[in-house]
Amino acid sequence: MKRFFLHLRPKRISEEALKLNITFGLGGILTYLFIIELITGIILMFYYTPSIEKSYFDVKKITYIIPYGYLVRNIHRICGELMIIVAFFHMLRIVLQEAYDTKFRKRNWIYGVFLFLLIFPLNFTGYLLPFDTVSYWGATVVLNVISEIPFIGDFLRILISGSNVIDENVLIRFYVYHIVILPIIFSLLASFHFYYVRISNGVKVKKLKNKVDIFYLFKKELIAVLFITIIILVVSKKFYSAPISQYALNSNIPEIIKAPWYFLNLQFLLKFFSSNIIILFVLSYVILLIFYPKVKSKILFLILHFFIISLIFLFR
């Protein structure tokens, strides 16, 4: 146990592992984004109530009335979406450099896959919380896809969401998943992820020569953190605003309902395939990711992800 905590943040680290062009610091960026999510999430919790009457108007209040509320909300949203992109590039880096050569690294790949997959439910459960029309129907579609699984579908749906329609039960459960359960699982998995990075002698480097003091790393980290913070602040102040549409329970129906961009490919596929086939697609994708170090085919990985990403842009 002591070993575990010592390895999370060791006193000395190899100098080679600090070269930027080996890892591009993507894992570190992800950790930093997750910390930002935690802080902004806690700040947002001061004004948010999970209730179908209040939550939409609370989010509106945060966005338009409370000073800097829009900024906190924008940062929270943009960092959540950035986590998907950065995590994908992190995975791509591992694949291209074949950094799953030892026993520990193979095990660590599986932790990484689960962390990557956990980002999607984290984003999705947060997506319902403003309770506007788009998120309402998005959640309806996803829960209906789950309840169409043969034999266990309805049971699973009730187990996850607690109701057959989107109501207060679903909102409160998604809130609990979003603020308690998923972040705890995420941070546990992430600490094991770091532990395995350390006991497999850091990131993939051929020879380990010099070891430098952790303070050297700390200085570099500080500069990176400042740099990323400034970028995120500028982007979320000037170029990005987290969307909010109409109140979910009013009688207007929007003309088009678009999923968030990271689910647009699934929404596009749902136009042509039945929901059970989509679930099979997703499951086989997950299994392929988990057993990728045994397959070791970069071309397969690249082509598959090229298709998945291009489906996002095909949706109109």
Binding site: W137, L159, N164, K271
Partner: protein
């Protein structure tokens, strides 16, 4: 009590049983039945227009042609509410673009079943619909 600790196998079996009971109880806790009661909507027949009357707040569509027919406006594909497009005279689902004719028959798209017909009664010019 002494028997509980006698062998490792019995001890583990008992611990396992305990956890199974706790988990079963927790699942029972999570799937507390949340049944919706049957609700009845009453609408005055004189208020209806000729043609399609869409009431999204009750999620019903009343077709007022020669005789009255009532449809649910929930898309049979994955449960979004359909829109009535006046210029094309069709119902369109905003989520995956399924299209239904004015009588609720599927024209296009991922949906396979027609819009659900609802039961209703007319008493003294008032339509009572069971949802």
């Amino acid at each position: 009590m002494k028997q509980f600790f006698t062998s490792r196998r019995i001890f583990l079996a008992n611990v396992l049983t305990f956890f199974v009971i706790v988990i079963a109880g927790f699942i029972k806790f999570l799937i507390y039945p949340n049944k919706k009661g049957v609700s009845v909507v009453t609408i005055d027949k004189n208020n209806l227009r000729k043609g399609v009357n869409h009431f999204p707040e009750y999620s019903i569509i009343i077709l007022n042609f020669d005789k009255i027919e009532i449809l649910s406006d929930i898309c049979t594909h994955l449960g979004c509410k359909v829109n009535f497009l006046k210029d094309k005279n069709i119902f369109q689902c905003p989520c995956h673009k399924s299209e239904y004719s004015i009588y609720g028959k599927v024209i296009k798209g991922p949906a396979k079943k027609d819009l659900k017909k609802l039961k209703f009664k007319i008493i003294n010019n008032k339509i009572k619909i069971i949802i």
